[in-house]
Subunit: 153 residues, 2 copies
């Protein structure tokens, strides 16, 4: 199994870079992954940003069969245990899983429709920088659950 | 209005200390607050830890009329906008609001029963160190929503 992460813009706040780096490192013990940053669209309207960034994200998917998971507030909410179970079942049929987190304005309807699973982390709104850390932390947590390992704080 | 935060044990991971400090600082522009750390119970069974830490948390509440909000997975989930509305209504009737986050093992039934509101951040499990940062960030976010201010990333 291999993960690809597609994000819009780099993580700018140092504090969220640090948390992201920590959980990326932990996750890398369990799975190989690629991280691609899509440049944010500038000097355009909000809806143009959404369209252009979403198109760019779709084009940046790895070649070949790919299971596409998009993080969006319209998605399904999961407990950490439910995520662990889903990950277990996805990885048996999909050698390649891509996770998308959009930019400040979100994602297009087209991208959401093309997703195999839409996941909402919480009813709370998080910045996309926080969402990245939570994504890496929850994936790390899911692997520790599935492997019966203790979670390291 | 004044906030009190009661947590079990100090935040040990540097990365979560840094995020916590950032959002505490931002929150302090909107509200006065006290933060009290309850020492974690040691060399006891899990249920003894829960009982002793919860008793200690209850005893550490500020004197006088106090609205007690406890973070627990059994609680009600809120969107950031719902939290902002609730905060608006609580603060008109309760000059003092206390937020409790327990230790690694959680909180006693007694403490949950004595709470005025039980709040679940997400169906996902977070460490109590992450939960603290998310609490401060969401309270900061709620104030920016209620005051119609832009959210600073």
């Amino acid at each position: 199994m291999k993960f690809t992460f597609l994000f819009v813009d780099k993580t700018r706040a140092q504090i969220w870079q640090d948390t992201e780096t920590e959980y990326q490192k932990r996750l890398s013990h369990f799975v190989k992954y690629n991280l691609k940053i899509i440049p944010p669209t500038k000097n355009k309207t909000q809806s143009e940003c959404i369209e252009l960034e979403s198109k760019n994200l779709l084009l940046s998917q790895p070649a070949g069969k790919n299971f596409l998971i998009t993080l969006d507030k319209s998605g399904q909410k999961l407990s950490s245990e439910e995520l662990a179970k889903k990950l277990n079942s996805w990885q048996t049929t999909h050698p390649q899983i891509t996770f998308i987190i959009g930019g400040a304005f979100g994602l297009s309807e087209e991208l959401l429709k093309k997703s195999d699973f839409i996941w909402s982390l919480s009813p709370l709104t998080f910045t996309h920088e926080m969402a990245r850390t939570i994504l890496f932390e929850q994936l790390y947590r899911a692997f520790t659950i599935n492997k019966g390992l203790p979670y390291h704080y």
